[in-house]
């Protein structure tokens, strides 16, 4: 058994933005409590925020890139995946223009990743075809 450390963060489920305290042991989240000092929830959590965290450590998480070969998704290295995508996007962009490419962004990831996502579409691709469920 390792030492238990605490990390403060914000819940990743709904938009309420509850502050949480995570107990970490041996690189695993072992317990979550509401953060009493959090302005939004003052220590409360719901069943999802407090208990539905095991997905982070689920064995079924994706662990390597996958590329479809002969109809099946097979393991690949990052270099192969990057090359596959860069080649595919470049040839589509060259043949049909940037408007033939579209991006669905993620309402769950950080502001920082979302900023880079739209910057990628507007610079590397050159299109404003970027949307997400945030319009709902």
């Amino acid at each position: 058994m390792g030492e238990v450390t605490q990390v403060k963060t914000v819940c990743g489920y709904c938009g309420t933005g509850c502050g949480l305290v995570l107990d970490i042991e041996d690189n695993q989240i072992v317990k979550i409590r509401g953060d009493k000092t959090a302005p939004v929830n003052k220590g409360q959590t719901c069943v999802k925020g407090g208990f539905a965290y095991k997905y982070v450590h689920a064995p079924s998480r994706l662990k390597t890139p996958l590329i479809r070969k002969a109809g099946k998704l097979v393991q690949a290295t990052w270099d192969e995946a990057y090359e596959f995508i860069a080649k595919g996007l470049s040839s589509i962009k060259n043949e049909f223009g940037p408007e033939a490419i579209s991006m669905f962004a993620c309402a769950r990831t950080t502001n920082e990743s979302n900023y880079v996502t739209q910057k990628f579409m507007r610079t590397a691709i050159g299109s404003n075809n970027i949307d997400g469920c945030n319009r709902t």
Partner: protein, 518 residues
């Protein structure tokens, strides 16, 4: 309105319940007798999709009885006469017919909303997921403007956002029509700020919404789709159609933490780091920026979303590189300084959260937006009434498909359930599988009992599911969530969309239900 608060936003639900105990009058507008109704002073159990009929009748009453805020209307609005004319025919009697409510309930609600010192309208997807979702939101704004119930503490319009960073994603510019800082892509001066920083010209023409993207896949114009952390196959309407579209693409890239139903159709799948494994910020439903922190080391071959995009961008000929999430945030603060300039990581460390807009380090953040409605200064804030008409759901029940299906979320599951399948040990879960929630009278007519397997079909698809008999729904109305891939509810839903937002009518379609004889 249209918010199953205790299940979809449990902590906000708790706050409302607590406030109701200390005297807050809560009026719940929802076709289902959801849990928050227990705390309500009145439940307006309207017909699905009849919100505009209700709100227009409320405004009819408010105008007729002189309960509107005349001074506010004169100073801060235009098109009042147009609104008056529009709601004239929405007498409480006329709207009672459409909504299924009593005339008295409509009149009382109108009076209470207008007369209260402070009234607030909170809403969720029950308002937006209709073919008239944007009109529904316009009408909520009309009500707030008519009564001046906006821009002061305890008033206003509160869309309760469903995802941890759905507000932030849009604000960061992940929309076809706006840049980081929620300014239009067509604004030349604002765009040039980005062109200078990014060192290249930025396309000024508005891009495609998700709905438009699907149309363009169908007609063959759209060849490649890159999806980050979304599972549209399961989450979007008319699943059989969505599947055909995904198969039609030349290149489908999916970046996710699990091999979702959508990822199974991808040409390439990229393993991303998840919540708990990354640093950054989220923007919550009331515009608070808060820090999320890395708690555990991710698996060695997974990468963070921005890290992947930087590498791809570089390989595509636009080199992009950041050391930390803080570096990226500081670029956001510089470019969209009006909103975020004063919100540093350091400040979030000491203050926990800051509400944007917060242009500089000395600014306290903006807890209440739209206070400009109450500044009696020149150039004061003016907003236009946008009168709208009630239009019924696109697909009404008929003899062949006699039930209305409405969809939503349940307490313990989240969206397409790829994460909430993994609860900590020992947590007692009530809803372990999907059900179709049906009223006892309808169940008796069909000759089914609780737990019986039924076949639910619409013009677009069919599935088998267990029936849950409950008075939460009314006769003629059934409810299902979209959480379970085993029972993919969206094979049933209709691909009709709001013309402005492109949001689909998840909340109403016609279905038939038959017992399955085993």
């Amino acid at each position: 309105m249209g918010s199953n608060t205790t299940e979809a936003h449990p902590i906000i639900g708790n706050k409302i319940k607590k406030a109701a105990k200390s005297g807050l009058k809560v009026i719940v507008v929802d076709p289902r007798k959801i849990d928050i109704v227990k705390s309500a002073h009145r439940h307006l159990q309207i017909e699905v999709g009849s919100d505009i009929a209700l709100m227009n009748a409320m405004m009819h009453v408010i105008i007729k009885e002189g309960l509107y805020n005349n001074q506010f209307i004169l100073q801060h609005t235009t098109e009042f006469e147009k609104l008056k004319k529009q709601v004239e025919r929405y007498t409480p009697e006329y709207s009672a017919e459409i909504t299924g409510l009593s005339v008295e309930d409509i009149i009382d609600t109108a009076r209470e909303y207008a007369k209260a010192e402070k009234s607030m309208i909170a809403y969720t997807l029950g308002i937006t997921e209709h073919h008239c979702g944007v009109n529904n939101v316009f009408d909520i704004a009309n009500l707030a403007l008519l009564t001046g119930q906006i821009g002061r503490e305890g008033t206003g319009i509160m869309p309760l956002r469903g995802q941890n960073n759905v507000q932030g994603a849009g604000d960061m510019g992940c929309l076809p029509n706006q840049l980081t800082g929620a300014v239009s892509i067509t604004d030349d001066a604002y765009r040039s700020r980005f062109e200078t920083a990014w060192g290249m010209e930025v396309n000024a023409s508005i891009g495609d919404t998700q709905t438009r993207t699907f149309e363009r896949i169908e007609n063959g114009d759209l060849k490649a789709l890159y999806i980050i952390g979304e599972n549209p196959l399961l989450a979007d309407v008319h699943m059989n159609h969505t599947r055909e579209l995904l198969q039609k693409l030349d290149l489908l890239i999916v970046q996710d933490i699990f091999l979702t139903e959508t990822a199974e159709y991808a040409d390439v799948v990229l393993p991303a780091k998840s919540w708990g494994e990354v640093d950054g910020t989220y923007t919550n439903t009331d515009r608070r920026i808060q820090r999320v922190r890395k708690a555990v080391e991710a698996a060695p071959d997974t990468k963070e979303d921005w890290e992947i995009l930087c590498e791809l961008s570089t390989r595509l000929g636009y080199p992009m590189h950041y050391e930390t999430s803080e570096d990226i945030w500081n670029e956001v603060r510089e470019l969209a300084w009006e909103l975020y300039g004063g919100i540093s990581y350091e400040r979030l460390e000491s203050e926990y959260s800051v509400h944007y807009p917060c242009p500089d380090e000395q600014h306290p953040g903006t807890r209440i937006l739209h206070v400009g409605f109450h500044d009696l200064v020149e150039g004061q804030k003016v907003s236009t009434f946008v009168p709208v008409d009630y239009t019924e759901p696109i697909e009404r029940p008929d003899s062949e498909y006699p039930f209305t299906l409405t969809t939503g979320r349940r307490l313990e599951s989240y969206n397409t359930h790829s994460q909430t399948r993994h609860y900590a040990d020992g947590v007692k879960i009530r809803q372990k599988e999907e059900t179709v929630d049906i009223h006892p009278e309808d169940a008796a007519k069909l000759g089914i009992i609780d737990g019986d397997l039924v076949e639910v079909s619409s013009r677009r698809g069919e599935l088998q599911v267990k029936a849950k008999i409950t008075e939460q729904v009314v006769p003629g109305l059934v409810f299902m969530s979209f959480h379970w891939s085993e029972v993919p509810t969206n094979v049933l839903t209709i691909n009709e969309f709001d013309p402005i937002s492109g949001t689909a009518e998840f909340k109403a379609c016609a279905v038939q239900i038959k017992p399955v004889t085993v």
